[in-house]
Every structure is written in C-alpha cells, then in structure tokens.
Assembly symmetry: C2
Homo-oligomer: 295 residues x 2
C-alpha cells in the first residue's frame, strides 16, 4: 500500500508519495489543476506530476496498474465545489484503489491545524474562509472573481483599476494610487484605459503589490482601499465563527497576501490568528492516511 497526496491548485499541482507510516518517498510538481476550469487539464497536470514522482521514488509506472501496489490517494482540488467535478476527476484515475477528492479549502484547513479542528482564512489571488469542527465543516466566500473572493488580491487590483479609471475620467480626484497604477501599466507598455478588458483574476491581482506599496508611502486612497479589503476579511471571519460550535476556533491566515493584508484588518481579526502547521498537501496526506486506516 502506498499513499498519494495531491494539492491541485489553480496555478500548479504538488504531489507526494508516502508509505502508510508517513515516510515521504517522493514529491513533484505539475501544471495547473483547477477542476472547475477543466477536469481534463487537471488530470493531465496530476498524471505528469505522478509519473515524475514515481520515477523519483524508484518505482515503475507498471506499479500503477498491475495491482502489485494498492494506491490510497487524496486530493485537495481547486474548483471541487462545482457539482459533479470530483466524480469526473475520479473516473480518469481508475487505477487508484481509493481516490478521495475534496476542496482545497478543506485540505488547507486540515493541514493548517495539523489535522485538528480549526478555521482558516486564505488570502491570495482569491479568498475563502473555511472551518472544520469534528465531522462538520463550514465555508464562507471564495465563490470566484469578480463576484466573490472579497479581500483577495484580484478584488484589490480591480478596486485599484476602478479608482484609476474614475480619476482618468475626471469622476474623482487623482491620487498617488491612481497615478501609481497608471504608471505601472504604462511601464509595461500597456494602455491603462483598455488594459483590463478581458484581464484575468491573476492579471488584476498583479496590481495588489502596487496598492500595498502606495499605501505604505502614505496614500490615503490606497489605505482606504486596503482597509475596505480588511473589513471584507473581517466579514468572512465573522460569518465563519458565527455558526454554532465554531465561535472559539483558532484561525490560521494562509495565502500569499495574508501577511501583507493582516495589518489592514481590524484588530479583532488579527487577535484570532495562530501559526500555520502545514499546507494543503499535508492536509491531503492526512485524508489519505485516514482512508488507509479505514481500509
């Protein structure tokens, strides 16, 4: 029996093979694997990473199919909340004895608290609040951009572009922020007025560092924008902990923007935070181990 843990993210895949006792045999990386966007693309990324890990571990590809090894796998996958997608993904891996597909919010939360109960608020390109309490779990936000992902980098970048466009139009006054966003785009050789037509969440999120820098340099408009994002994060957390039995949970702030955005969140939000114990991949490995124990 071997354990397989997969962190299937929107920008990359990370995969780990371990023994039932938890000894890591290999880790590898693969391409994007958001199963809401494309199950086929995600499967391709995962298979690429799996082949590479098998090689690193000194195993052969035969051992995936010949029944010699029982594969107990678990994935935390971006987009797994979209109906039917986990089932579609599982069907593409018939050689895995068990393949447990969860949302990456679930595995991140499990990993962050070392398998114990707790809550996370992830702040990266998007945002999501997630909490696990025994066999109950609860999620707030993270419904995608631009409709949700409040407080995430893409929403911050979108607000910055709106501010710059309104200033260019003369609808509001120019600020250090409007000037900084315009210059940033111009220096990349882009037209600030039309650049954002068809821009992706990732494109908008690239402007978040510009906002953070401008706010640190004393721009009131940038500071207000970040405080508004901080209030959005507080709103996520409040709704998350309001649920029965969840109010005393410890909270881990994860994601690439968490450290930078937390100073702009209300004090009550910051007071809740504890240190992170592990990643979404660690969480997926915990799921695989649980499944292995039940087998």
């Amino acid at each position: 029996m071997l354990l397989l843990a997969i962190d299937a993210g929107a920008t990359k895949t990370v995969l780990r093979i371990a023994t039932p006792s938890g000894d890591v045999l290999a880790e590898s990386r693969g391409g994007p694997a958001n199963i809401a966007t494309s199950v086929e693309q995600a499967a391709k990324s995962m298979e690429g990473a799996l082949r590479s890990a098998i090689q690193t571990a000194g195993l052969t590809e035969d051992m995936l199919h010949n029944g010699e090894v029982k594969w107990i796998a678990a994935a935390g996958a971006a987009g797994a909340e979209v109906g039917g997608r986990p089932e579609k993904l599982k069907a593409l891996f018939p050689y895995l004895t068990i393949f447990d597909v969860r949302t990456d919010a679930y595995t991140s939360c499990l990993g962050a608290h070392g398998g114990a109960d707790g809550a996370i608020v992830a702040i990266g390109t998007g945002s999501v609040g997630y909490a696990i309490c025994g066999d109950r779990n609860h999620r707030v936000g993270g419904w995608g951009f631009p409709q949700s992902d409040e407080g995430g980098g893409a929403r911050i970048g979108l607000a910055a572009v709106r501010h710059m466009l309104a200033a260019s139009d003369g609808r509001i006054r120019e600020s250090d922020l409007s000037v900084a966003v315009r210059h940033y785009l111009q220096e990349l050789g882009l037209d600030p007025m039309t650049w954002s037509v068809g821009a992706s969440a990732t494109d908008f999120a690239a402007l978040a560092p510009v906002v953070l820098r401008t706010a640190k340099n004393g721009c009131g408009a940038a500071a207000r924008l970040l405080e508004s994002a901080g209030k959005d994060i507080a709103g996520l957390l409040d709704a998350l902990l309001k649920k029965d039995g969840f109010s005393e949970m410890k909270v881990v702030f994860t994601g690439g923007l968490a450290t930078e955005l937390l100073p702009w969140c209300p004090q009550a939000v910051r007071d809740k935070g504890v240190l992170c114990q592990g990643t979404s991949l660690d969480g997926a490995m915990k799921v695989a181990m649980q499944r292995a124990c039940l087998t």
Copy 2:
C-alpha cells in the same frame, strides 16, 4: 459615388447603403463586430452584411472592386478605442475609397442629436457617457466589465449576485432580492453558488430585470442597489458636463436599460434628458456624408 454606413456592435452589425443625397438603397444585418475582441470576426460580419445589402440594392459584387463606384464608408465600431484596431480594420477593406472608423459612442452621439452637438449616456449591458462639441469630443466611462461600465446591466447583475452570495454565506441577511436571484438561477437548473464562475457581462446583465422587478415589488435591498447604479450614472454625467464648454449640453439616454433605470437616477439626471433623434447607424451615415462632401 455611394455611401456606406456601418453600426458594428458587440452583438450584431447593421449596415446601410445610400446615395450621396441620402436615399437609402438597402439595409442589412450581420454577426457580432467588436473590434476589440476580434478584428477578423468583425470584418467577416461586415462583409457578410455588405454582400447581402449589395444584393438587396440590385448592385453586383463586382461594383465593390472594379472602380465603377466610389465607396465612401463610415463605421461606428465597438472597441474602436483600443489602439491600432481601426487601422487594422481599414486594411481589410482596401476597396473602400474612404473608410472612416469611429467608436460606436461617437456615432451614437452624433445620431442621437441628428448631427448637432450634444451628449449621450448609453445604459445597456455596459454604460458610457459621450459628448460632442464642435470638433471636440469627450468620453467618460465605458471601459469594460467588471472594471467600468458603471450603472450598466452587467454591473447591476454583478451586485445582485454578490448580494445573494453574501446572504447565502450568512454574511448579510436574506432579502427578497437574494431569494429572487437564487430562485431565478435555480429555475434555470443552475447552481447559484457556482453559476457565476466564468460568467460573461451578458450573463450578469440577464439578472438586471430580476433586480428591477424585485425593487418594484418593494424590496429595499434591490432599491438601494438601483439607486447606487443611478448615482453611478449621475457620476458619469457630472464628469461629462464638467468639461469646459460642455455644461449646457442636451443629453440623450440611450441603450436597452435607460428607460428602466432612469427612475432610479437623481432628479437632476432626469431633468437633463431630451428625446433621441437617431441611431448609431444614422450617426455613421452622417460621418460618411461629411466625408463625401469633402471628397
């Protein structure tokens, strides 16, 4: 000499052939023609419409190329503000003696005021403010969704989805609006929480009628959302008329959502409105006529 006017819109093309004195010989329709999205697709839609109009007018396709007829053409094209696109489009129509490509905002404004100076605020899926004063013109907003198009149908639909998602998460209270949006999507067999992942501006705009209906039935949340859209329209108009020499302009409200949204705009906005005299196609024909007179 023959005149050719083209209204090249994001969803359809309308084309008219007329004599230099303005007698219409034929009108026809074609596919989508947003030159920001695809110049090639736009050219294909225009050529299809042109062939059909030539047939209706009793002309032959030879007459496009053999030099027998001088073609003076003008288009008001969606996306013409994107650098280099008008030039690219013109290059695909070498047989037109003159081909003047303007933004559809310009031709709409010219058409709306029968060729006289004036302003328009277009409120449809998107929104834009535009004004012409002699040889000066001024534009506010209309920089695309979700970053601009304030007060347009897609922005109203986006705000409605955000409201529904926040209510579903327990971040805010349920309202008649959150319930109506959820039911609307469920009745279409869609999952309200994940439907908007990858939804287009047109998809979001389909929710605007739900907001308008719910507001008319007395929902405060829907009313506040529309009042906020109305304030956005007021902001466009203020910035438009703030420019030197533009303050006393007459304003035409155009677009599929104008009539429904105007009651939610501040009184000062409504007081500015005058009746529309013509379409973007009429405006394009005026450009073609002006060019013909100068030839």
